[in-house]
């Protein structure tokens, strides 16, 4: 507000147009014909500036786009390339973590040259048995789980089924 006449100054008055004026300004203008007329005048002035400054259609030559569009293509490719290695690293990190976990697990297992056959057998024991057989290592008679007189692939399957059953029961 002006100190002299209590009318809002021009910027404050014009701010009413965008709802940025103080509430007291709004109240004042509602009751002040002089300010309402001035507000209308400022509105017309603003419209005249807007019309005079409006961008002209067709100012921009089409070739102006080329450099920017080429820049966009290059930048987008850079961004995608940056994201790809990030995913690659994530996958590599996950694989490394899995290998580490498997290694730790293997070391944490009780020392043994073969699978455990008791109630705590799990699917990894079946894998170990399978690996030992494929490697041609001598198979103890205790591995003949199906009691058919041979230690072979069928015993591996028997141990695998047992491991799954134990796992389900444990869950």
């Amino acid at each position: 507000m002006s100190d002299q006449d209590q009318h809002p100054d021009l910027a404050e008055l014009e701010a009413l147009r965008t709802g940025e004026a103080a509430a007291e300004t709004e109240t004042h203008v509602r009751d002040c014909a002089e300010c309402r007329a001035l507000l209308e005048e400022l509105g017309a002035l603003g419209a005249r500036v807007a019309a005079a400054a409006a961008p002209r259609a067709g100012l921009l030559p089409p070739e102006a786009d080329r450099a920017v569009l080429a820049g966009i293509a290059g930048r987008a490719a850079q961004i995608r390339a940056r994201r790809r290695p990030r995913l690659g690293w994530a996958a590599a990190a996950a694989a490394a973590a899995a290998l580490l976990a498997a290694g730790l697990w293997a070391f944490a297992r009780p020392a043994s040259d073969g699978p455990r056959l008791g109630a705590t057998a799990d699917i990894v024991d079946a894998y170990l048995m399978d690996r030992a057989l494929r490697a041609g290592r001598p198979a103890p008679k205790a591995w003949d789980l199906n009691r058919d007189g041979r230690v072979d692939r069928l015993d591996v399957e028997a141990l695998a089924r047992k491991a799954v059953r134990v796992s389900r029961e444990g869950a």
Partner: protein, 181 residues
């Protein structure tokens, strides 16, 4: 904040959605942002440089700068409010290099080759705003031609809100006086 959806164009993504896609490196989103703001940036660049060639250079520099901000660009204001200081800075740099003051002289507004009608319109703007100091002219143009709020002007020009109001008040007073004569 940039709008997520675009109320003026139902079915088209808003700036927020396009910015998110641009942060993922989607070229279509970057192109959409470019075409959405290209003419606006160019018009401001021309207004600030007063030179057609410089305006085209500024246009390219603005968007190359803008797209270098990706990925990781997060805006807490409208995109125009973000872009304007960039346009302004690059345009003023161009002007300094040319040692011209196009906003200060009506003739410079007409310096670029233009059609008769276009020249007449630019002459009208120059005549209208000619009496204003440059800093007041800029506030008037941002306010009425660009539709910025007072807060947005303050942010775009990096000046206090009170300074914007003061410049606008003095500019409007001068314009009223000159239009009455």
């Amino acid at each position: 904040m940039p709008r997520i959806s675009d109320p003026a164009r139902p079915g088209t993504p808003g700036d927020g959605e396009l910015l998110a896609a641009a942060n993922r490196g989607e070229p279509a989103a970057m192109e959409a942002l470019y075409f959405r703001y290209r003419d606006w940036v160019h018009a401001r660049a021309w207004r600030l440089t007063g030179n057609r060639e410089d305006a085209l250079d500024v246009l390219q520099e603005v968007f190359l700068y803008f797209f270098r901000k990706f990925p990781g660009l997060e805006l807490n204001c409208e995109l125009k409010t973000f872009l304007y200081p960039v346009v302004r800075s690059l345009a003023l740099d161009r002007r300094r290099r040319r040692r011209e003051t196009p906003l200060g002289a009506a003739a410079a507004e007409l310096a670029a080759p233009a059609g008769r009608e276009e020249a007449a319109e630019r002459a009208e703007l120059s005549a209208l705003l000619g009496p204003l100091p440059e800093e007041q002219r800029e506030v008037v143009l941002l306010r009425f031609a660009d539709g910025f709020s007072l807060q947005e002007i303050a942010k775009a020009l990096a000046v206090p809100l009170g300074t914007v109001k003061s410049r606008l008040h003095h500019a409007l007073g001068t314009l009223r006086g000159s239009l009455r004569r």
